[in-house]
């Protein structure tokens, strides 16, 4: 089983939902292989199933109520979003194992840029010195008896962190969100991060299928 990556670039949030919906159906029908979408969104707040948000915009930024796990978060330029459309058979339908895989892959990529990053017991996401650098929220979709993933991971590369100040990101203090550039104190090319994330995710998925 192979894996492909698609670097979509900047994509409106709504269009990314439609794209994921189509790919989930295609993956569930066996028409396509596991697919890793990499993209960025124009500024948008998204609210998971655990919270309700009456506002349709916050400081001029649109708010979407969506069907992923987790609470409220922000997506915007400078944040690389990874949406793996994967058959969870690869992880024996183990949600914890899949989320650990998402975290572990991001940690490896962060280490390759000399950014310290770890798991945090009991707190999903990737953490740097106690601050969250990558957020995770996923959905499992049943298609033709297969469990197909959507949504995924959002890694702050050069995100304008002020956007987090208007919300309680994942129920946390906004000060506790960080980015790669903030940790490194310098500029990064997002394209390099996208490239390494794509390689790392695809290699791992391909190897996992080989191990079977």
């Amino acid at each position: 089983m192979t894996c492909r990556t698609i670097d979509v670039g900047m994509l409106q949030y709504e269009d990314s939902l439609k794209l994921q919906h189509r790919l989930v159906k295609e993956r569930g029908s066996g028409v396509i292989e596991d697919t890793i979408l990499l993209l960025q969104h124009p500024p948008v707040y998204t609210v998971g199933k655990r919270e309700s948000e009456a506002r349709t915009e916050i400081e001029g930024v649109p708010v979407y109520q969506i069907d992923r796990g987790g609470k409220t978060t922000f997506h915007g330029p400078g944040q690389v979003v990874v949406y793996p459309i994967i058959d969870l058979a690869l992880f024996n339908r183990d949600l914890h194992a899949y989320i650990y895989f998402l975290e572990e892959t991001a940690i490896q990529v962060l280490h390759s840029f000399d950014v310290e990053a770890t798991h945090k017991q009991g707190f999903t996401g990737v953490w740097t010195q106690g601050r969250k650098i990558a957020a995770i929220g996923i959905r499992v979709n049943k298609v033709n008896g297969r469990w197909i993933t959507s949504h995924g991971l959002a890694l702050n590369v050069s995100t304008d962190l002020r956007y987090f100040h208007y919300i309680m990101p994942c129920g946390m203090n906004p000060q506790d969100v960080t980015s790669m550039e903030r940790e490194l104190g310098g500029r990064l090319d997002e394209k390099d991060v996208v490239k390494r994330l794509a390689e790392c995710f695809c290699n791992k998925v391909t190897n996992l299928w080989k191990v079977g």
Partner: protein, 81 residues
């Protein structure tokens, strides 16, 4: 015949889930594939669907409840003998 719709196994370490949405009430007629409830565990969202046709005779959970894998969400009276 009565059939329970239960929270499916989602791996070794997922024990509890939170009910984030409930889509059925007593008396509802259900077809295979119809959504029964949405549950969340560790930032992962999952819709529990019915695999059989029937009528909901008892709903055993409420939204925001925390329940365990294997627990029944509702009971259906199925149309098969």
């Amino acid at each position: 015949m009565k059939t329970k719709i239960v929270v499916p196994k989602m791996g070794m370490s997922t024990v509890e889930v939170d009910v984030t949405s409930l889509f059925v009430k007593e008396g509802d007629r259900i077809q295979p594939g119809d959504p029964i409830a949405e549950v969340e565990s560790e930032k992962a969202n999952f819709t529990i669907e019915s695999e059989v046709a029937g009528t909901v005779v008892e709903v055993l959970v409420e939204e925001n409840d925390t329940i365990e894998v294997g627990d029944a969400v509702c009971v259906l009276e199925t149309e098969q003998e």
